[in-house]
């Protein structure tokens, strides 16, 4: 009882702060639920809630296609990054070969190259390859990630040698050890990397903006930009489209919050 009373200030403060932080999102939600006539009516709650704006956003714009594009691109990138990073990380952590330290050093150095700096020559390269306005341009350049290699290599090195020794005595080769020893033990690290990569890919803005031309290839982020430009005065439709774009990533966050948090903590401090 006393403990609960002592917690009241915390609840009040945390609740108030959370409300304040989420206010822009709440007003967006409110705008999306208003018919056009009520758009400028005062108050946080829509006076006459309706799904009109959603209906219009969905019929006027191929939102399903945009979301599907984003989902496809983000999933492919995540799958690619997990695969390529895990293979490379396994070799860097477990195999002995010439130039191992140099190759690991290269991955660490590449960590420092932000996409915003390479997007220009990357665009020219993708143009030369004839990939502009295609899924290839949206995915292939991002199927490997230095951060992924770095994080997984660091993680694999924390697995005790004994696990691998036991497998080796049973006659397992590296492929078998990778599959049956390293892979199951790396599940938390892979989950965190997956969450980090997925959200990064889902959020990509500059790259899809420059490489997509046709509406069919646009990702959800870019679509929001175009809808905003086309529906300048009709904020309820813009808001509805934005809420629809928000829903999948919000859902993913709520379902895998643990992995997201671990991924940010892992990736954010880079070891």
């Amino acid at each position: 009882m006393g403990r609960r009373r002592r917690l009241w200030p915390t609840y009040l403060l945390a609740g108030g702060y959370a409300l304040l932080l989420l206010l822009p999102l709440l007003t967006l939600l409110s705008a999306s639920l208003r018919p056009e006539g009520d758009l400028y009516a005062p108050g946080l709650l829509p006076p006459r809630p309706s799904l009109e704006a959603y209906q219009e956003a969905l019929t006027k714009f191929p939102l399903g296609r945009f979301l599907l594009n984003s989902l496809l691109v983000s999933s492919l990138i995540t799958l690619g990054v997990l695969t390529t990073s895990f293979l490379a990380a396994y070799a860097l952590a477990r195999l002995r070969f010439l130039g191992r330290e140099a190759l690991f050093g290269l991955a660490v150095a590449l960590l420092l190259v932000p996409g915003e700096v390479t997007f220009l020559p990357l665009y020219l390269l993708v143009d030369r390859l004839g990939w502009l306005d295609s899924y290839l341009a949206l995915t292939v350049p991002f199927l490997a990630s230095p951060l992924g290699v770095f994080l997984l290599r660091q993680f694999l090195r924390t697995i005790p040698e004994d696990y691998f020794d036991a497998a080796r005595i049973d006659g397992a080769n590296h492929w078998q050890m990778l599959r049956h020893v390293a892979l199951p033990l790396s599940a938390p690290a892979l989950g965190a990397l997956a969450a980090l990569t997925f959200i990064g890919a889902w959020n990509m803005y500059l790259w899809p903006l420059v490489v997509t031309k046709s509406r069919e290839m646009q990702t959800a982020q870019i679509a929001v930009n175009f809808i905003l430009n086309e529906e300048v005065a009709r904020w309820n439709v813009v808001a509805a489209a934005a809420i629809l774009v928000l829903l999948p990533s919000l859902l993913a966050f709520l379902l895998a919050q643990r992995a997201f948090v671990r991924g940010i903590a892992m990736g954010g401090l880079k070891g």
């Binding site: 609960r4 917690l7 915390t10 609840y11 945390a14 609740g15 932080l21 989420l22 206010l23 822009p24 007003t27 705008a31 005062p42 695969t83 390529t84 990073s85 293979l87 490379a88 396994y90 195999l95 070969f97 010439l98 290269l106 991955a107 590449l110 420092l112 190259v113 932000p114 915003e116 700096v117 390479t118 220009l120 020559p121 390269l125 292939v140 350049p141 490997a144 230095p146 590296h174 959020n203 803005y205 500059l206 420059v210 959800a220 982020q221 929001v224 930009n225 904020w235 813009v238 808001a239 934005a242 774009v245 928000l246 990533s249 919000l250 966050f253 919050q257 997201f260 954010g268 880079k270």
Partner: protein
């Protein structure tokens, strides 16, 4: 066991190991080479060439693009705007994130809900954040000006005045990053040994003293690293600026990365843009070097 193998066997094993390693490494490193190393080198190559106005080729011009970039007043204006942007975004984001982290780092009934609410912005895509704020700050329908009006204050041209646009964008960026900062600072706070705090509590220190004398000093290395990370992130902020102001009004939010985009895709000065991008890269590298150096220090002395 290794010693009992003959030399030939050992060599064979060694070579097989090399080949095996190659197969594991090839997918990742081939992609790195093609899509990271090569573009970086091409950016360098481009920045040292000039578009030939008549043919389609490019001619070597040495450092001319760099010279042109740094001699343009627009460039320095963009650099200054970027710095200003980072100087508003980073402290604000740290402060907002720290407040959230302080409210959720210790377990109490219901903490999970608050963690979810505070960490939530990590899942809000930049485009959605921008639109949400675009509406929130809307001159007519936005809640921000309505709140000001209810306090008897005049409405503000948040995104449409050259004075306010950049600070407003910085606030939006800080807001969008709160979840990220809160996650990292929560982890940092949880790493502070509880015994230390309990010991001072026993000594009769109030929560205020505990925070300023114990928590904050012990958190400061984390705070500094997260701060650098936030600065690095803010130096390449693009999506929210593109969506909300397009670098305007009157180029008042034309930050460095936006200038690169503008010069490459609208002014068609690709080599110049490449030089500008590489100059930005140098700044980012210097900051990252600082971060690594500090990390190293922390490992040794922490």
């Amino acid at each position: 066991m290794y010693a009992t193998l003959s030399r030939a066997q050992r060599l064979q094993r060694h070579l097989r190991g090399q080949g095996e390693a190659l197969i594991f490494l090839l997918p990742a490193y081939a992609l790195f080479l093609l899509f990271l190393v090569l573009p970086l080198l091409e950016a360098l190559w481009l920045s040292l060439h000039q578009e030939d106005l008549f043919g389609r080729g490019r001619v070597w011009t040495g450092l001319a693009n760099y010279q042109e970039a740094v001699s343009r007043p627009e460039f320095w204006k963009s650099a200054w705007l970027t710095l200003k942007f980072a100087l508003i975004t980073a402290p604000l984001e740290l402060l907002l994130g720290l407040l959230a982290a302080l409210l959720v780092y210790r377990p109490y009934p219901g903490v999970a809900l608050f963690r979810t609410l505070f960490f939530l912005t990590t899942a809000v895509p930049t485009a959605v954040a921008a639109v949400a704020w675009g509406w929130f700050l809307h001159p007519v329908g936005g809640l921000a000006n309505r709140l000001l009006a209810s306090l008897g204050l005049p409405p503000q041209p948040w995104l449409t005045s050259p004075e306010l646009a950049l600070p407003t964008l910085a606030v939006i960026t800080a807001w969008a990053g709160v979840g990220f900062t809160a996650v990292l600072l929560t982890a940092g706070l949880q790493n502070i040994p509880a015994e230390i705090l309990e010991a001072v509590e026993v000594d009769g220190a109030g929560p205020w003293t505990r925070f300023w004398r114990i928590t904050l000093p012990l958190l400061s290395p984390t705070l500094f690293l997260v701060g650098l990370l936030v600065v690095l992130k803010s130096l390449t902020a693009f999506g929210q600026i593109h969506l909300l102001t397009r670098g305007g009004p009157a180029e008042s939010s034309m930050v460095w990365i936006y200038r690169v985009y503008q010069d490459a895709f609208f002014n068609f000065r690709v080599p110049l843009a490449a030089a500008e991008a590489l100059l930005l890269f140098v700044v980012l590298l210097l900051l990252a070097a600082l971060q690594f150096w500090l990390l190293g220090r922390r490992v040794h002395y922490g």
